[in-house]
Symmetry: C2
Subunit: 442 residues, 2 copies
Amino acid sequence: MRLSRYFLPLLKETPADATIASHKYMLRAGMMKQNSAGIYSWLPMGFKVLKKIEQIVREEQDRAGAIEMLMPTIQSADLWRETGRYDAYGPEMLRITDRHGRDMLYGPTNEDMITDIFRSSVRSYKDLPKCLYHIQWKFRDEVRPRFGIMRGREFLMKDAYSFDLSAEDARKSYNKMFLAYLNTYARMGLKAVAMKADTGPIGGDLSHEFIILAETGESEVFCHADLVNMPPPGVIDFDSDLQPQVDERLALYAATDEMHDADEFAKLPKDKQLSARGIEVGHIFYFGEKYSAPMKAKVMSSEGKEVVVHMGSYGVGVSRLVGGIIEASHDEDGIIWPKSVTPFGAGIINLKVGGEEADQVSEDIYAKLTAAGIDPLYDDKNDRGGVKFSRMDLIGLPYQITVGPRGLKEGIVEVKTRATGERQSLSPEAAINFIISEFENI
Amino acid sequence: MRLSRYFLPLLKETPADATIASHKYMLRAGMMKQNSAGIYSWLPMGFKVLKKIEQIVREEQDRAGAIEMLMPTIQSADLWRETGRYDAYGPEMLRITDRHGRDMLYGPTNEDMITDIFRSSVRSYKDLPKCLYHIQWKFRDEVRPRFGIMRGREFLMKDAYSFDLSAEDARKSYNKMFLAYLNTYARMGLKAVAMKADTGPIGGDLSHEFIILAETGESEVFCHADLVNMPPPGVIDFDSDLQPQVDERLALYAATDEMHDADEFAKLPKDKQLSARGIEVGHIFYFGEKYSAPMKAKVMSSEGKEVVVHMGSYGVGVSRLVGGIIEASHDEDGIIWPKSVTPFGAGIINLKVGGEEADQVSEDIYAKLTAAGIDPLYDDKNDRGGVKFSRMDLIGLPYQITVGPRGLKEGIVEVKTRATGERQSLSPEAAINFIISEFENI
C-alpha cells in the first residue's frame, strides 16, 4: 500500500481520556476512531490487525475440531426468559423493542441461542461430541466504558460451545479448548497464563481465565512464576488424552483475585510468588446442564435413554486482544507489532520523493516485497525525514527500510528492526532478502 | 470435512412459510436457522458460502482501489439528526435507548457516520480521491420479513463511500464501482444488469441498481435483451478513463419499475424488449453534497479554497446474494453451486462405510482432494445409498464421487457433475485429477 493513497489519519495530540498505551497509540496511529462512548470504528490499519488476530483464533479453533458458524447480533428475549437470564442479566444487556413491540436484545453472549439451535436439530449420541463457534460482535452496555477497545461496549468475541454426553466427555472438550487457547495466544506473541476463575453470569463450577500480564491490567492476579514462561503446547493430537498436558499446568498455582487463596499462594517458594496486574483475553467455562436442562436439550443415548447434554463455553476477546498486544509490546515511540499480527510486514521510507534514484529504488523494493507477500507500506509522501521516522516508529511495523540519497551513493539502504532498534546498512537486494527471510514460518 | 463430524442439520419437510427456492433449500440443506422473524443463524455450510461471497466482493473492491475498514453496528442518533435522517427514516430504523437514556440506533446504512469520520480527519485535496468500504451487519426493521435471508431484518452488506473534489471526479469514482460490480457478480456465476434506479432514502440524482433476473424477483424490470449476456469488463485499468466502457452499457435501455419509461422501451426492436422479474443485488448512488454540505465535510483545494466534497455510496447485498445465487442456480433436487462459491469443492459418497476397500479408496480420495485444496465433504455416514444421493444433490456441490463395491471390482468410481447430471466412470486417480482440473483458475 502506498501511504499517499491510504487512509491513516494520525493524531498529533493524545486525547485527554486516553490513559493507557493501547488506547493512546490506537488513536494516535489512526487505527480507530470513537463514534460514541465505548463504540469505535476500526480504521483501515486497525481493521487489518483485527482481521489477523481473528484469523489466528479461527485457525486454532478449526484445528481443535470446532466448527464455525454465525449467529445474529439481535436475539429474541424469549430464549433468555427460558433460562431465566433475561431478568438476571442486569443493565449491561442492551434491551430493544422492535416495531411490533417485541422484546429483543443485542447479544452479550450466546449460550441460550446455541442451546436452542442444538436442541432443534440434534437427536442422537452419535452426533456428539460437537463444538460450534462463531466470531461475532457483542454488546455490553458498560456503565463507564473506558480504556478504548479494552473495555468498550461493542466488541468482537469468539465464542465456542461444546456439547457432550457426560461430564467426563465435557471435560475432554474443555481440555481441547484449554490447550488450543495457549497456542492461540502464543502465535500472537503473548504469554498467557490460565488462571482459576469465577464463573460470573455464565455459571458452572469449572472455569479458567486466560490472562496476560501488564501493568495496566484491570485485575490483580496471582500465580507461580514458572507459568509465565512455560512454552505453549505446540502440535496437539486432539484425539488423544489431553488431561496430562492440562494437569501439568494446573499443578502450578494460578488464580484471579476472586478465586485467590492466600494460604495456598504462601506455600509457593518466595521467589516464585508472582502477583501482578493482568488483562483477561479469554475465559472458558464448564457449566454442565445449566442451560441444557431448562431448555431440554437432550439426545438419545446408545442405551436408548434420553440424556441432557453437558455443555461448556469458550470465549476469546478478539477486539480486546488488539489492545492487549499493544499493552504487551510498545515503547515510548509507539507500537511494536509482533510479526504474526502486524498490519504491514515492513515500511519503506523514501527520503527523497521525486528524486529519480530514490523513487526507482523504493518502487523496486515495494514491488519485490509485495510480490513476496510481505505487504509493505510505502511512505511516498512529501514530508520531512523526521516526520517520516517518527510516523513509522509510531505505527510500529517490525521492519523499516530507509531509502535516501546519501546511502544510495554507496548503493545501500538502511534496515531498522523496530523492536531492537538495530540498524543494518545493506544493498537493496540484501535488505529485501533479509526481510523475506524474517517472515519465513510466521 | 467428514460428514460424521460436521453440523449439517437437514430438514425432511419444507417449512410452510418458505415459498421460494432459496428460502426452501437454505432451510432444507441446513444452511441456516431462523431465530426470530427475519433474523437467522448461519449454520456452518451457509456460513461457508457467505464467507466466499464476502471474499469475492472484498477482492474486487480492493482491486478498484477502495480501502477496507469497519464501522460499528450501533450508532448515535446525533449524527443522523445532523443530516435530518433520524426523523426522516421511518419505522424501518431500529431505535434503541441505552442505559444512560441516550438515543442510539442499529445502522441501516452508514453515510452519516462515514461523513463524520471523513470530516474529522481529511483536510486537503491531496488526500482525494478516497473510497472507503466496510462489510458489516445492518438492521432494517421490515414490517413483514419474508423470503428467508432475501428480505430479512439483520443482513450483511458491503457499503463503500467515495469522496471527491468535484462532480466530475465523483463520476470517475462512480464508474470504478459500476464496472467493479459487474466483475463481482460475474465471478459468482451471475448475470447482473445495471439498471437506472430510484434513489429512495439515500438521495441523489444518479443511481443504478444491479439486478439479476429470476422468476421469484420482487420487482419488475425492463431492459434491452443484449445486456443480459454482455460479458463482464474483465481486467480493468482503474487509472484510465472508464467512461467509454460505462457508456457502452448505458447506451442500451435498462430501468427498474420506478424509473421505467414505456415510450422509450417501445422504441426497442420487439425481440429485444425484455421485461422480467428481478432481484436487486447491488445499488450505487451519486448524491453530491447531500451529506457533506450539512455535515460540513470540506477540504482545502489547490487554490486554497474550502470545498465541500462530493460523495457517492455503493452497496452490495452480501447475505442476499446467497439467496440470489440459489434462485439463479437450482433444480427440483436442490441447489447447484457455482464453483467459485460452493461450500465444498466436491462430495465423496462412500456406499459401504465399514467395507475395507470402499473405506480405503474413499479415504485416499479425501486425503488427495484435501491436499489439492478442493476442500471435499466426505459422506462417511452409515445411511442407505438413496439417502446419500439425494442429500448430496440437495446440498448441491458441483461434483460428486461415488465409491461403491460394484465399481471397485472393476477399479472405478463414478463422478457426477451436479449441474448437468453427467456421469463418468473413472479410476480413482482419474477422478481426482478431473476434479482438480475443473477447479483450476477459479
